[in-house]
């Protein structure tokens, strides 16, 4: 009843055009939600049920699918993803903020060149560098280790992160820095005691963007990692699919597990994620 009332009041204000648009919005939302809902629902079904009763809710809720998926390897990929993501995030934040500090506080030809390189770095895409990177990692002897993912991830996230953080640093008033220097604060002190604490929002955005990237990256993780033990979630799921064959319920459970952290992150941090992605792209 309540719903019907609400709907009527909307229609009064919208007119026909508005109502039609509203219906279209809902249809598109359904097109996005339903497959995801289906994924969650089917992850608790048996193979036969997924196959023959596509639309229905599971007869028996096989929550065990989740524990099976977890034991059969997802836990392993999950841990790898967390390790890789954590190191990437720490690396990016530390290096990018130091670079941004230098780039925002000093002026010289070298700085301009460094900035240009940063911009150019954003234009270079991973596909193009895939093979040289592979050869390089081979030479270093770190192919097929976690470092083979962490180092390229950091390198690819740096240009964007540096520019983001720098633009924030530039807005910090010069006066604060000068008075700190008067009090005998070193350059590093200014960076760690003034700039970093004052830039929490942008650092936060960087963390969110980077972890989102490292968690979902696919191309590098299938090429640079061979051993199943070290795979991250996106590439691990591929192995998982091949190993499970028709155990679809378990596969779907694995998919749900690997999606959850990012959905939770999205709902918890909507604003940061949205602002970050848009700023990043526009600056690109």
């Amino acid at each position: 009843m309540v719903k019907a009332k609400k709907h009527r009041s909307y229609r009064d204000r919208f007119g026909i055009g508005g109502s039609i648009t509203f219906v279209i919005l809902i249809l598109w939302a359904m097109a996005i939600i339903y497959p995801l809902f289906w994924m969650v629902m089917s992850s608790m079904k048996s193979y036969n049920e997924i196959y023959s009763k596509v639309w229905s809710l599971p007869e028996k809720w096989l929550i065990s699918n989740y524990s099976v998926a977890w034991e059969k390897g997802i836990s392993n990929y999950f841990v790898n993803s967390i390790i890789v993501t954590a190191f990437t995030v720490v690396g990016v934040v530390v290096i990018a903020s130091l670079c941004a500090y230098g780039l925002s506080r000093y002026k010289s030809k070298g700085i301009d060149i460094a900035l240009m390189l940063c911009m150019a770095g954003m234009m270079v895409n991973p596909q193009v560098c895939l093979i040289p990177l592979y050869v390089l990692l081979q030479k270093f002897g770190i192919l097929n280790t976690r470092l083979a993912l962490i180092l390229p991830y950091i390198a690819y996230r740096l240009p964007l992160s540096v520019l983001l953080i720098r633009s924030y640093f530039l807005d910090i008033p010069k006066g604060i820095e000068e008075s700190a220097r008067m009090d005998g604060c070193s350059s590093f002190g200014i960076y760690s005691k003034i700039f970093m604490p004052m830039s929490k929002p942008i650092i936060f955005t960087t963390i969110v963007l980077t972890s989102y990237y490292a968690w979902n990256e696919f191309l590098f993780s299938i090429v640079f990692i061979d051993s199943d033990r070290l795979k991250t979630i996106p590439s691990g799921l591929m192995t998982f699919r091949d190993a499970l064959q028709t155990d679809w319920g378990v596969l779907l459970a694995g998919m749900v597990i690997s999606t959850l952290p990012m959905i939770i992150l999205l709902i918890a941090l909507q604003k940061h994620l949205v602002r970050g992605t848009s700023e990043g792209a526009i600056k690109g």
Partner: protein, 277 residues
């Protein structure tokens, strides 16, 4: 000057990557332009390029146009109450790992139990049901559809941010002058966010030239045959499955040239755009 020491590895990384891939001949034997000669006679490259183009055209229509309309609709004051809800939903696929999405869609496209065919039967269009990924005519489009589903929300979000920056006074003035909603969309919204439109269009086209994940997972590397292959997938296959690193590097050069040209065009266009004002 601590940053210089930190910066050097980064710079080196890029220099290294530039050096290496332009040295398209394998270090062991110098083959000159042979790789490129082979490349231009290779039919698969043609197919891949066509697929990349299809990607670009379809994505520009869907992402950039529909994304823009969605953004404008959601920013309309009458939807103010429900807009945040739709925004989060539309953005959801963007944060989901591409491999999860592709696996999910391989279920949806499944000829026997897939959601799509079952849905078509449900609404009485059962004769349209087909093995979407198994036919070379439908496979490329089925793969492209997945990317549309995933990233429309991302582009929409970029537009929303841009639209929010338009001063509301402009709309009020137009409303007083009696301009309708559609009129306001074309004469205020679009000119005001011209820059963003350039950027997103470039992003989509560049993205279309680099598509890798979707065909790699959904059609197991461009199947059936090579019908849904893209340049990146072909590069991956040449390099890591057929072990023709040099040839793959040549492909990478092609990809780089295409994307670099696009980047330059975009820079030019957005510059002239500003001068017009």
């Amino acid at each position: 000057m601590l940053f210089i020491f930190v910066f050097i590895p980064l710079i080196q990384n890029f220099i290294y990557s530039f050096y290496d891939f332009s040295a398209f001949s394998p270090t062991k034997t110098f083959v000159g332009l042979d790789n490129f000669k082979e490349l231009f006679q290779d039919k698969v490259v043609g197919t891949a390029l066509i697929n990349n183009m299809r990607y670009a055209v379809i994505s520009v229509i869907f992402h950039d146009f529909i994304g823009l309309v969605l953004a404008a609709v959601l920013e309309d004051p009458i939807f103010r109450k429900v807009a945040p809800f739709f925004r989060v939903i539309y953005f959801m696929p963007v944060v989901i790992s591409i491999s999860v999405i592709c696996l999910l869609f391989s279920f949806i496209y499944n000829p026997e139990m897939g959601l799509l065919n079952n849905f078509l039967k449900l609404i009485g269009l059962g004769n349209l049901a087909k093995p979407w990924l198994g036919l070379s005519e439908t496979a490329p489009f089925a793969v492209i559809a997945v990317s549309q589903w995933q990233s429309i929300g991302y582009i929409m979000m970029l537009y929303i941010v841009a639209i929010q920056k338009i001063p509301s006074g402009l709309y009020e003035a137009a409303e007083i002058d009696g301009a309708g909603k559609i009129r306001r969309f074309f004469s205020i919204t679009i000119p005001q966010i011209k820059e963003t439109i350039f950027v997103t269009t470039l992003l989509t086209i560049t993205g279309s030239m680099l598509v890798f994940n979707e065909p790699y997972i959904l059609t197991k590397g461009g199947g059936p045959g090579t019908s849904s292959i893209t340049l990146s997938v072909y590069m991956y296959q040449s390099g890591f499955l057929k072990d023709k690193m040099g040839y793959a590097s040549a492909l990478a050069v092609i990809i780089f040239v295409i994307t670099a040209v696009l980047a330059i065009i975009q820079l030019r266009l957005s510059n002239t755009g500003e001068e017009d004002y």
